[in-house]
């Protein structure tokens, strides 16, 4: 590896480290990296280009996320940071790792189950979601949409606590 490319690799690592410090504005317990929306980081000299993908097509937080990313990179010495948006491959909750899922649970959000296949079965019952507070499976869906598009609202019949679930997509 040439010194130049070794330097580039170190800068890419440094950029990823900076991005791991950027919280998602809607789910601040996770970083944008843990949420899986950072798809690529490339450096060219001083410039760094970050590729992100939105969780949902209508996600209103994307601009804020872009600003946060640029600000974090600038704070870590990357003067010329740009953010590019890509839509394919489409974001999936399967990109959220085990450790991040545990963080969600501890935060009071039931982590997403495995994303469904591409065939849609009408009238199929949804699986019961485990309560993130007491661990009971005796929960029921209150609404498919919670405080944000990516979450549903459930109620636990065991501990009577309402809670949100990050929907699998």
């Amino acid at each position: 590896m040439s010194p130049a490319s070794a330097g580039a690799a170190a800068r890419i690592d440094a950029a990823w480290a900076a991005l791991r410090g950027v919280p998602d504005p809607e789910v601040p317990v996770l970083s944008v990296v843990e949420l899986g929306i950072v798809r690529d980081v490339a450096v060219d000299g001083d410039a760094v280009m970050v590729t992100v993908t939105p969780t949902y097509s209508g996600c209103p937080a994307m601009r804020e996320i872009e600003r946060d990313i640029v600000a974090a990179l600038e704070a870590h010495g990357f003067a010329a940071a740009t953010v590019r948006t890509t839509y394919a491959p489409a974001w999936t909750t399967d990109w959220i790792g085990e450790e991040a899922r545990e963080k969600l649970r501890a935060y009071g959000i039931a982590p997403p189950g495995p994303a469904e296949g591409t065939t849609f079965v009408p009238l199929r019952r949804r699986r019961a979601v485990t309560c993130p507070y007491c661990g009971s499976p005796r929960t029921r869906l209150q609404s498919e949409f919670g405080s944000t598009a990516c979450k549903a609202i459930h109620v636990c019949d065991a501990c009577t606590q309402p809670f949100e679930e990050m929907k699998a997509i």
Partner: protein, 290 residues
Amino acid sequence: MGYGNAPDEPEFGAGSDAPARVVPDAPAAGPVVRTHTSGPGDNALFEYLLRLGDDRLILGQRLAEWCGHGPILEEDIALANVSLDLFGHATLLLKLAAEVEGNGRDEDALAFLRDAVELRNVQLVELPRGDFGFTIARQFLFDAFGELYFAALARSTHEALAGIAAKAHKEIRYHLRHSTDWVLKLGDGTPESHARMQRAFDELWRFTGELFAMDDVDRAMVEQGIGVDASTLRGAWRDRVNAVLAEATLRVPDDGYMVGGGRLGRHTEFLGHLLAEMQSVVRAHPGAQW
């Protein structure tokens, strides 16, 4: 018929079984905004993308009308979220359309500076929102179609369009789950909710044929491997609608006269009212920045 329309909005299908009056909007008077209207033979891909984008733009606007007026807080939020997703799809599709057109217009110009005769949405999505049951019935019919359509569109040979479709498809799946749940709850609910749902489906049915209609634009897109042959989806859509309506104790309306023309810019009088509200700020303050 009491669908809870705003007083300033013409009521849809009021008080009779007669079809809603279909009055194409006259070209707008007053200062002319320079726009270019593409015909079917002009640029099929541009036209096709407008159709896809306009369906979602107009239905997104109809759903947004519920913001602050939902029957319960959760549904207020749910309809606003579905609306946001539809605006997201419309933004991506119209942005692509603008790039294909290459005429200096962007997605905002396409959304906010076209008049009714230039819009290419099906008439189903422009009908007034009605009561919550009517909104849900329409949403279910549209979602059941969209889920099938966008699954197929995700296999388009047009890479950018396939990417948008794959993303949209994931979201349409839970839109459909949401609208299906409510069709079941309201259809198999109280006598009042059942009657309102049945009336909604009966009124909406004649607007469903347009979803599956194919013309030269669609056929050109199918031949190029870009577009979807909607006519082939009708059977699967019927099976799905039949199953859900049966479970909801509702009767599937008989196929009769089907309206059409939205794809060619022929719309009901309701679209003009919708655009007047949606476009008012942009038209009153050209070039204004947020």
